[in-house]
Subunit: 202 residues, 2 copies
DNA sequence: TTTTTGACTAAAAACGTTTTGCAGTCCGAA
DNA sequence: TTCGGACTGCAAAACGTTTTTAGTCAAAAA
């Protein structure tokens, strides 16, 4: 009965997600999840190997959602330029949404640093690939004469890191004012930079 | 006898700095500092109000040093473009050094988050001003037609945040390879972006 | 008078023990 | 096959005790 099985798993996950958002990893007990899902605690272990597995699944779901938004937006765009713009725009939009949801995560990160790092690393490498692909495309199509012969790996790393720093800044200062115009400005600068002529002029 | 007074204070600070670098804030005791400075513990309280004051002074000294390097490099440059380039180059150079010096910092930051934030905030606002000043100058001199009418406050914020994100990435991955070429590439992109023509072409 | 210090205190950290809360198991029921 | 409740073991909280350490003070030294 694969279908029913899947449905229960999904329900458990959905409830767990709700609870994790409110209370974080440690403060959410397996009993809480079981109750919310209308099941007994041990039933959860029929579907999932451990609490950590549930948590991982929830967080990865969240990340995958984010990433698929990103990917979708990127794929919808035609030129590398538009892709890059769509990437940054979507990224910050999604962040803005998620920030409101996950109030607790920060505490979670502190107390479970290892796990979060593991998950994050995986996610970041996906994003790195995405950005690198865009840059490579742009380079291939000659959209970015400014970075001819540049190491797109490094550039992608730089851009992703910078993006994260900016995200942190925004979250920390709760400084989401004028987000759109700011993103626009930033991507304009980035775009012109990528498109700029080769450094003949000193 | 202001001079002798100053000398002793400086000596205490120097010893404290050495110890903090090795052992961090909590693992360094006032007795350690006193012994290293060749004084009795209570003597320290004749010169400093508290351990925290000593620590603050040390960290602020470190930050001021960093900042004065930055400022010096920026002032030495002529054009806003060169200033900006000098800024990023120096910033990462200094970071690289400090990272080697301070082996403990991560643990310290975790256990004394509040204090570090306070100090960092102060420092960051200085840096924000510096960057903004460069941008304003560039705008004024017409070096940056790409950002005409742009909000340089926001742009400075963005750049400083992005820089910090990149720093984090570098430190975390211990990824200082090709630092120079990477900085060069990034600042080239940034420069062309700032200089780019106004967005007439879509 | 200015500097320095050893003796003191109060508060916090470290340590060892007990208790408890919860993840995860097992067995039996449906 | 699906589930729940009782059970186990472990890891973290709670608690009391001891040690360490930041900070004070009054008195000695310079």
């Amino acid at each position: 009965m694969g279908t029913k099985d899947e449905m229960i798993k999904a329900e458990v996950l959905a409830q767990a997600q709700k609870l994790f958002r409110h209370y974080g990893l440690t403060k959410t007990t397996m009993e809480d999840i079981a109750k919310a899902a209308g099941k007994g605690k041990s039933t959860l272990y029929y579907y999932y190997k451990s609490k950590e597995e549930i948590y991982k699944e929830v967080v990865m779901g969240e990340m995958n959602e984010t990433f698929s938004f990103l990917k979708e937006a990127v794929e919808a765009a035609e030129t590398a330029e538009d892709k890059l713009r769509a990437y940054s725009l979507t990224k910050f939009r999604v962040l803005q949404e998620k920030v409101n949801l996950y109030t607790v995560i920060c505490g979670d990160i502190e107390s479970n640093f290892q796990l979060m790092m593991e998950l994050h690393k995986n996610y970041e490498s996906q994003e790195l690939q995405l950005v690198k692909a865009i840059l490579d495309l742009g380079q291939e199509r000659g959209e970015f004469p400014g970075i001819i012969n540049a190491n797109t790996d490094q550039l992608a790393f730089t851009m992703v890191c910078a993006g994260r720093g900016l995200q942190m800044g925004l979250v920390f200062n709760n400084n989401f004012v004028d987000l759109d115009s700011r993103i626009d400005l930033m991507s304009r600068i980035l775009m012109y930079g990528l498109k700029g002529e080769n450094p003949a002029q000193k």
